[in-house]
Symmetry: C2
Subunit: 470 residues, 2 copies
């Protein structure tokens, strides 16, 4: 078998692998990209894109109901599913057409291999198709792992045997179940509840903790209120003891003294880096752990190995994976050319304390940087202020009786914001001002001069600064 050499071999052509490849070919490197499933990855077909395609019409109908002067808006479930089908490029057989993505990979002059990429020693990668090695690749400079993550199914008795839906099945739903029980109060659980309830399911959401526990505690409470007003039965602090599926397909979930009966069960109990089956053992790494990397995305163990996106465990978020991919791609171009490492572009420093996230429930949760708890744990001298977004004139125009809240976590020593959280309708696009402020560590007394137009919801930034005492 002919062995082919590239400057860099990328395993995984999700958005993260694609971005890394794009930066590198633009920088003059030869790049091979290997994908076992679909180019475009989890995000394009089974996660971000279909979930938002399904959530957006639901969200808009809810927004319409909150405004006197709009009448008649309702969700057309069949049309919503058809919209999703278009977004994820569904084929008649229920699969997905990723030709647009593979063409994009070729358009950036990278070589695309369909198959499983597996490390086979230092800077060597096998491509497996149908269980056979179909191609051997060597990487002159580096191998980049961008294999993403996989859902975890914890050892709840009967859960695995009940063949629960994961996020893939939820976002690719064709027949909306009448009754659903969702296990898990994280992002996937909450968004799945909003989605399925919006499409007409009777939903029970069970979390052993609260909802969205990595956010400020009140964020999860506001989302619970929102889900309840969508008709979701939200049950927090409830431990599931057993799951069983009857012969007729009915699922029973036992938790505490209660039993919840449904037509379908969704397991949304976390994800873990996809490190299995990619040959990490062949280079002496532990395949049971995330691939540990430094801020240049280089393995802390092997100088020729890089890992970007979920597989390195830094931040399981598409946009942070893409961010890492930009840094990693630029790093490899610079290192291949023997350029110095000093540029601020060659590090993914925002990963640590400047990460944004949006949860597309109704209300939405948009946050960046550190929560109060995280900031205190890291030893900052913290002060927190908050403000009811409904008091902002612009919010009262966006929705009658707007409900929402914003908070700002301040590092008192430096007079800069460490984090912001916004919960409310349409706060997703409100976040970037906070992200710029947190990332650039803009002093609050400069932020004071960043004026928000009247009457926009963004005036909440002014209100937070006033609440702080400016």
């Amino acid at each position: 078998m002919e062995e082919r050499e590239f400057d860099v071999v990328v395993i995984g052509a999700g958005p993260v692998g694609e971005v890394a490849a794009g930066r590198m070919t633009a920088g003059g490197l030869s790049v091979a990209v290997i994908e076992e499933e679909l180019a475009g990855g989890e995000c394009s077909y089974w996660a971000c894109m279909p979930s938002k395609a399904l959530l957006r019409p639901v969200e808009l109908v809810e927004a319409a109901k909150r405004i006197q002067g709009v009448r008649g808006a309702e969700v057309d479930p069949a049309a919503v599913l058809a919209r999703r089908d278009k977004v994820v490029k569904r084929t008649p057989d229920g699969g997905h057409d990723d030709s647009g993505q593979t063409e994009w990979v070729r358009s950036i002059c990278a070589e695309f291999y369909r198959g499983r990429g597996r490390l086979a020693g230092e800077r060597r990668v096998e491509v497996l198709s149908g269980g056979e090695v179909s191609q051997l690749l060597t990487a002159k400079h580096a191998v980049v792992l961008a294999t993403g993550s996989r859902p975890t199914v914890p050892p709840i008795p009967g859960l695995r045997e009940a063949e629960p839906w994961g996020s893939r099945e939820v976002t690719n739903v064709d027949v909306v179940p009448d009754r659903v029980v969702i296990l898990g109060g994280g992002v996937v659980g909450c968004e799945s509840a909003a989605m399925l309830a919006g499409l007409g399911s009777s939903v029970t959401l069970i979390s052993r903790g609260g909802l969205l526990d990595r956010n400020e505690p009140w964020a999860g409470e506001l989302v619970a209120d929102g889900l309840r007003s969508q008709g979701v039965n939200v049950r927090t602090e409830l431990q599931v003891s057993e799951v069983s599926r009857a012969a007729d397909g009915t699922v029973t979930v036992k938790a505490g003294d209660e039993a919840f009966v449904a037509d379908q069960i969704v397991s949304a109990l976390g994800r873990r880096p996809a490190t299995a089956g990619i040959g990490l053992e062949s280079v002496g790494l532990d395949a049971s752990k995330a691939v540990d990397v430094d801020d240049s995305l280089r393995s802390t163990q092997l100088p020729w190995l890089y890992a970007v996106g979920d597989v390195n465990g830094r931040n399981l978020l598409t946009h942070m994976g893409k961010y890492q991919a930009r840094a990693c791609g630029d790093v490899l171009v610079a290192r291949a050319k023997g350029e110095p490492d000093g540029s601020p572009k060659l590090t993914a420093y925002a990963d640590h304390e400047k990460t944004p996230q949006v949860v597309f429930t109704d209300p939405q949760v948009a946050s960046v940087g550190l929560t109060e708890k995280a900031a205190r744990e890291r030893g900052y001298d913290v002060r927190v202020v908050d403000y009811d977004i409904g008091w902002v004139a612009g919010a009262s125009l966006v929705a009658d009786d707007y409900t929402g809240k914003a908070s700002m976590v301040v590092d008192e020593k430096r007079g800069v914001a460490l984090g912001f959280t916004f919960v409310g309708q349409d706060v997703a696009e409100l976040l970037h001002g906070a992200t710029v402020a947190v990332t650039a560590e803009v002093p609050l007394e400069t932020l004071w001069h960043a004026v928000a137009s009247y009457p926009t919801v963004s005036e909440v930034y002014l209100r937070l600064l006033e609440a702080y005492g400016l």
Copy 2:
């Protein structure tokens, strides 16, 4: 007549005068506030608030039409007008109830006087009620003018006699005219066209130039496209020669070789500082001009006189007036206490090159800082990049076939952004990230690390930086 003394006398209780008063009483000064019309001002009853109350339902119905999966949404014009009535606190006699605002003024421990405030020599102000002086006030430290602006009616033959509607009549419309001609392609003209068309009028909009000419040229073109798709007959580069109103109320507008016949005409041809009748002559100032002030909002002529908001002609925008009011209030507190002037809070520097504005048409126009033309005129070494917002994944989820554009004006010498413009659906809340970046002069290579969540429309920030070459 008993003459009363206050630390500061504020003439005008619109949002700008109210904010200045609030900062000053919080700082321990005694303050009198005088308002001839309604506390809360133009913005609360006749401008920003009612216009957005009317525009928002129209905009939401248009947004619903752009999403497969939402059906049946339509504007209910009577309910929209009722919504507006609530927002502007309409009374049964067609007036407005400003008791909430006067109570607010009293809640901050300022003295409220209803009447016309008029300067009567240095630091002296008369309150006139029914043409009589009802109160004499003296200001120990300063008089603050916050009288706002008035619409101008240019000398087009027949226009004044035709008794055209201004923005007040548009935003307070009760019976929507069948056919309307709007003169003026600025913000008021464009928003009025969107509003009336959305409520069912057949609208012709005539501008002697383009639309929104202070923005990037393509912004006005996209708004013209949007208005046309709402059914508005947009006529640019057309000079009106004559207006006449017949006995039956029908209005005829002659422009070029054409005549436009309508049931109502709207004059949206600019505003000027409200300097008349406030006694400027009594202190030696020219009442035909804006009151010229420095960055502390102090008159460049008289050290005891301050002017905030439209009356100083710096920026005829509510939010910039409120911004100036915060600075002015803080300045007066500091000066009354003999504190030094050095704090960055004591200057309204963002007025010059860091001003944001949102136009609530469909598409919206959101901009901050300098346009390309303005930046070049000021001698900056300029490079401009732009990006089609419809190509952003998040935008394709917000609306099927999203149409919009973003641009960034960069100062090449310093590597910072001088201005941003966004045109598209729901871009109003997208702006604050740009405003923070422009105001804090965040280097582009730092902005690179301010990550936008996937899939939000805010990813357009990344695209602009990539287009720039980062």
